[in-house]
């Protein structure tokens, strides 16, 4: 009886909501109810040739290459018996001992790990926020000549920074998707737009690169251990998608900052 009552209340609410919704939707809207479209050459709503929609569907191969490169390096380092590689994994990739152990002992070969983890659309790692901030400050203080760096450090991260630059400067990225694809801020991306490679590369190569996972290690470890053909794996991928989209918004700390009406968010406000 109670379930039937609830169902009928739900139907009633739904019916009432529909009436409200239809009333608002079926009347011509005022000038401020819908934001104006973007300029004709950038608008999706005026994209009559569907070129911009297709550009969104175009896979950026650089991200897939970047992902493959990073996970390949991590896999190799995890299977290296040299204790110094642990330092590299901790400092460069911010990985915990637990995840390193799982990658090392998961029993999967490198190709299987790629299959589980490589994402051609969204990078699993981002440049650590602290590094982004320090580089932004560094460029703001002016570009000065730097001492020559060793050949080894030049080659190690040169490809990495060039790939980042290519993704940011992709001429077909009309909507600034590099931010969500790479997990970088607009101010940081301006480094690659404002300066030439000859100007930014020496500074970037001289910096201590540190990457950070954009999703939780639990999800990564679970995805590695799951059968990539199983429904559980597909469900974990959705969780990863969510976390990547959420980390793009920086999570609850910054969410609190950006909320338009803080007086209505209840327990979050102190």
């Amino acid at each position: 009886m109670a379930a039937n009552t609830l169902k009928s209340v739900k139907d009633l609410v739904s019916e009432e909501y529909k009436n409200v919704f239809y009333k608002i939707r079926d009347v011509k809207h005022g000038p401020d109810e819908i934001l104006p479209c973007l300029k004709h050459n950038a608008s999706l709503a005026l994209d009559d040739k569907l070129e911009r929609k297709e550009s969104l569907a175009k896979l950026n191969r650089s991200i897939g290459d970047l992902e493959t490169d990073i996970w390949g390096k991590i896999y190799s380092l995890c299977h290296n018996d040299d204790p110094q590689t642990m330092t590299c994994l901790h400092e460069k990739f911010s990985l915990s001992n637990d995840l390193i152990y799982v990658i090392r002992h998961c029993g999967k070969n490198q190709q299987d790990v790629y299959k589980s983890l490589v994402d051609p659309l969204l990078s699993s790692f981002c440049i650590a926020p602290k590094l982004q901030l320090s580089l932004i400050d560094r460029f703001k203080s002016g570009i000065k000549a730097l001492p020559n760096t060793g050949a080894a450090s030049v080659s190690t991260f040169f490809y990495f920074w060039m790939t980042i630059a290519n993704i940011v400067n992709d001429t077909e990225d009309y909507y600034g998707l590099y931010r969500i694809r790479l997990g970088i801020s607009e101010e940081f991306a301006m480094i690659f737009k404002k300066y030439t490679p000859a100007e930014y590369m020496p500074i970037l190569l001289a910096s201590d690169v540190c990457l950070k996972l954009r999703c939780s290690e639990d999800v990564i470890a679970s995805m590695i251990m799951a059968d990539s053909n199983s429904p559980e794996y597909m469900a974990l991928r959705q969780t990863r998608n969510y976390q990547l989209f959420s980390s793009h918004a920086l999570g609850p700390a910054s969410l609190r900052q950006k909320i338009a009406h803080p007086e209505s968010i209840g327990s979050l406000v102190r």
């Binding site: 609830l6 739900k10 739904s14 009432e16 409200v20 919704f21 608002i24 939707r25 079926d26 819908i34 999706l44 709503a45 005026l46 009559d48 969104l56 569907a57 204790p83 642990m86 901790h90 990985l95 001992n97 637990d98 799982v102 998961c106 926020p129 602290k130 909507y175 998707l177 931010r179 801020s185 607009e186 954009r214 999703c215 939780s216 470890a221 679970s222 995805m223 251990m225 794996y233 597909m234 469900a235 959705q238 969780t239 998608n241 969510y242 976390q243 959420s246 980390s247 920086l250 999570g251 609850p252 700390a253 969410l255 950006k258 338009a260 009406h261 968010i265 209840g266 327990s267 102190r270």
Partner: protein
């Protein structure tokens, strides 16, 4: 979809403003918007929209299917809700103004494209070993009109009249995700999240692997002899508190996410170092 079907070939041009409306209506028909929703979005009368639709169908040969309008609770309360919730989060992020005041069609289309393209790529039906999973049917049934309804329900004008069913944005501390859910009273906060994968703790996986190795009689390897390292929280997480299973709620539908700024990063950095930052003012 034939890309050469530009509007000049379909309808006569009457004025520059009307031309934009006609052009937009054409594009929106391609996305699958219903007649009524297009009338609202482009501010044209039903008769004109019907003419555009007829010309579009004649040229493209695409049949339109009429589906009843669903309300937020129905849209979000199902496996497909996983995708709609992602879209709403992205819509909020890319919205160029105040979410509670105005609808941003560009943000809506961008969010729609990002999620559908992403999931289509992950599926890639041409591959033989692509698994059929519970998301497939839901993905195939995605309807942009449902996203339209959710985005409209974020607006204050609708919620002020009837706030019993609408779209809320919340943060799940347990799953470390921002997601959208219906504000219906009996909508369980885990109803959407139950369709997401439940990751096993990396520590637990490690222990399982260690146990398996021990059973096989393998020796302790170099990992255990390395120096201890503080576990670094990923960008989206908060300090762990496994005893607290209650999700952190943001019971509000009205906020705008702005592009990353220095201030936002600084706030994130200060909260990384302060385990209690999330509960503080």
């Amino acid at each position: 979809m034939a890309n050469s079907n530009t509007l000049e070939n379909l309808l006569p041009i009457r004025s520059s403003d009307r031309n934009y409306a006609y052009q937009m209506a054409y594009v929106l028909f391609d996305y699958g918007f219903s007649d009524n929703n297009i009338c609202y979005l482009v501010n044209l009368d039903h008769r004109t929209v019907a003419k555009i639709k007829k010309a579009y169908i004649n040229r493209v040969g695409k049949k339109s299917s009429r589906k009843a309008t669903k309300m937020p609770y129905e849209i979000l309360n199902g496996v497909g809700g996983v995708f709609y919730a992602q879209m709403v989060v992205l819509y909020c992020h890319y919205h160029r103004g105040k979410i509670d005041d105005a609808l941003d069609l560009e943000a809506m289309l961008l969010a729609w494209n990002l999620v559908t393209i992403r999931n289509r790529c992950l599926r890639n039906k041409d591959e033989k070993d692509t698994p059929v999973d519970r998301y497939d049917n839901a993905f195939a049934d995605l309807n942009i009109n449902n996203l339209f309804t959710l985005c409209m329900s974020l607006r204050h004008s609708i919620r002020a009249i009837n706030d019993s069913d609408g779209c809320l944005i919340e943060y799940s501390k347990k799953r470390q995700v921002i997601y959208a859910r219906s504000s219906m009273v009996d909508f369980d906060e885990a109803d959407l999240l139950k369709y997401l994968g439940k990751p096993t703790s990396v520590l637990k996986i490690k222990e399982q692997l260690k146990k398996a190795e021990k059973d096989r009689g393998m020796t302790t390897d170099v990992i255990n002899n390395s120096r201890p390292h503080r576990k670094v929280a990923p960008l989206c997480s908060q300090p762990e508190n496994t005893s607290d299973t209650k999700n952190e709620m943001v019971p509000v539908s009205l906020f705008k996410l702005q592009p990353l700024t220095i201030q936002a990063i600084q706030t994130e950095l200060s909260s990384e170092n302060d385990p209690d930052a999330f509960t503080k003012k």
